[in-house]
């Protein structure tokens, strides 16, 4: 029975090429959009995570801080909650570092009378201390300590990014739900159209003694096949788009700490499985309506 169903489903797909192609293309597009969002979220989550891991609070000291004050300040900062490590960067080290970074333009610095850079502490945060509010509180506490001139960290940028991320998250969820429903309706309608276009054939098959399974199985098979092919095509489209666009961004030169990754095989398989299930569900609803005796 199942072999017949598969054979008849393949024949149906070949006989109704256009209808099935439209359906597969629409599923592929939905899968593409849904998995593109997932790709964005996965990478945005990784990016935020990596960025937060790399967060350092730079504490600039004022010029009046003597060595003893610096040692005292270092001790006080070390004792604060969330501080994993603290490193002193003298103004001379900072100057040399700046010279290296600006390379050929370093001659500009030679025109300065004195080193304008202050001494500073570079504070590495504990792994458990990644909450933006906590980081902000810590920065404010440090800023109020004596001999601290200024405190700097990637506060605004992070806030803005996580704001966009959250907005995308909500929009993405809404869009994913809409595309899920759209895919379901498209498959259900395609099956209904196929059944409508073949209502005489179905009637003939019934007259010669076919049971409902004989009529239903090929349709289910075709719907699941549509889901499978649409799912695979959507993932391939995403991979193609990813392979063609991401290398042009040269992300490694922008974010040394972060590498943009494609969706995992497991996730891709889950998406394909989901689109097959959507095919089955769409078929179930349209068949239930159509085959009522």
């Amino acid at each position: 029975m199942l072999i017949f169903a598969a054979r008849r489903a393949i024949t149906d797909i070949v006989n109704n090429k256009f209808l099935h192609m439209v359906s597969i293309a629409t599923i592929a597009l939905s899968v593409f959009i849904v998995s593109a969002f997932s790709l964005f979220f996965n990478n945005a989550t990784d990016f935020l995570d990596a960025w937060q891991k790399g967060i350092r609070i730079i504490t600039y000291l004022d010029d009046t801080a003597a060595e003893s004050h610096q040692a005292d300040l270092k001790q006080r900062i070390e004792s604060l909650d969330g501080v994993a490590a603290i490193a002193f960067i003298s103004k001379d080290d900072a100057y040399r570092d700046l010279q290296q970074k600006i390379g050929q333009q370093s001659s500009l610095l030679e025109s300065l009378d004195k080193n304008p850079l202050p001494d500073s502490f570079e504070i590495t945060l504990a792994d458990s201390f990644r909450n933006l509010e906590d980081i902000e509180k810590l920065a404010q506490t440090i800023a109020q300590l004596p001999y601290v001139d200024d405190v700097e960290y990637a506060q605004k940028w992070l806030y803005r990014f996580s704001g966009i991320y959250n907005l995308f998250k909500v929009t993405g969820l809404v869009l994913v739900s809409i595309f899920f429903m759209a895919t379901l309706l498209i498959i259900a309608n395609t099956i209904r159209l196929i059944m409508y276009s073949r209502r005489e054939e179905i009637e003939i098959i019934r007259i010669i003694g076919a049971d409902e399974e004989f009529i239903k199985y090929p349709l289910f098979f075709a719907a699941v096949a549509q889901g499978f092919l649409g799912g695979i095509a959507g993932i391939l489209m995403l991979y193609l788009a990813f392979a063609l666009t991401i290398p042009n961004f040269a992300p490694e030169t922008i974010f040394a700490f972060f590498e943009i990754r494609f969706i995992t095989i497991r996730f891709a398989l889950t998406i394909v499985l989901c689109s097959m299930i959507i095919g089955w569900v769409g078929c179930y609803f349209s068949i239930r309506k159509f085959l009522k005796l």
Binding site: E201, I205, I207, I208, G209, A210, D211, E212, F214
Partner: protein, 227 residues
């Protein structure tokens, strides 16, 4: 054993009425058909011949009365039993009812696929029947390219391939030229000789007069008696 089987009756209709809205297509029809009987159901257009055929294969359900086919009460069978009932029949229509997207072979083979036969069993059986009706050379053609006579031969092949107990033919020669009609009729007689009960709904009086068979005449949905 059912009393019907003792009496060798394969079809029993008791006071069968079929209404479509207010219109009565059949009224209080009572009829018994014995196994391997050859029956002509005749009458003018609108007499209820096609309705009677549809009621027998459960294409329609009776508004009142009872129909028994080989001991199965059609008023009481479940949806799941309908396919089993229909496999007792081979049905031939005036408009052939072939599937245009399937080849001649596939159209005929479908009956055996529905019956659950394996492909290696299906192929020789279908080819044997196609050869018998004289259409084996067109096995890979699609119905739209066949002539009316050829299409009806395919329909006959489809009706007989499953070796049904009853063959129902609704105006089988209605749209055919005399030569093709004679050929189809000879095939139906052969089906009858092989042991099947054959019921032909027709208003072709010449066909009825030229061949032996019991004649049931319907008029305005009522039994008008034998001719």
């Amino acid at each position: 054993m059912y009393p019907d089987q003792e009496n060798n009756l394969i079809i029993r209709m008791f006071n069968v009425t079929k209404r479509y809205g207010k219109m009565e297509a059949l009224r209080n029809l009572t009829l018994d058909v014995r196994k391997n009987e050859f029956v002509f159901v005749t009458g003018p257009s609108g007499a209820g011949k096609s309705t009677m055929i549809k009621l027998l294969y459960h294409g329609e359900t009776a508004s009142s009365g009872a129909i028994l086919v080989d001991g199965m009460n059609l008023g009481r069978i479940s949806r799941k039993q309908v396919p089993r009932l229909r496999r007792k029949f081979g049905v031939i229509f005036q408009d052939f009812k072939l599937i245009p997207t399937k080849t001649v072979f596939q159209n005929v083979a479908l009956v055996l696929e529905v019956g659950g036969l394996k492909p290696k069993e299906i192929y020789p059986r279908v080819m044997e029947v196609l050869t018998y009706v004289g259409i084996d050379d067109r096995a890979e053609e699609f119905p739209p390219v066949l002539s009316g006579g050829e299409k009806q031969r395919v329909a006959v092949a489809r009706a007989m391939v499953g070796v049904p107990e009853i063959v129902l033919a609704d105006e089988p020669t209605g749209s055919l030229d005399p030569e093709s009609a004679a050929h189809i009729f000879r095939l139906l007689q052969a089906v009858h000789r092989s042991g099947a009960t054959v019921i032909i709904a027709t208003h072709d009086q010449q066909m009825i007069q030229n061949h032996n068979g019991r004649v049931v005449r319907l008029e305005k949905g009522r039994m008008a008696g034998p001719d």
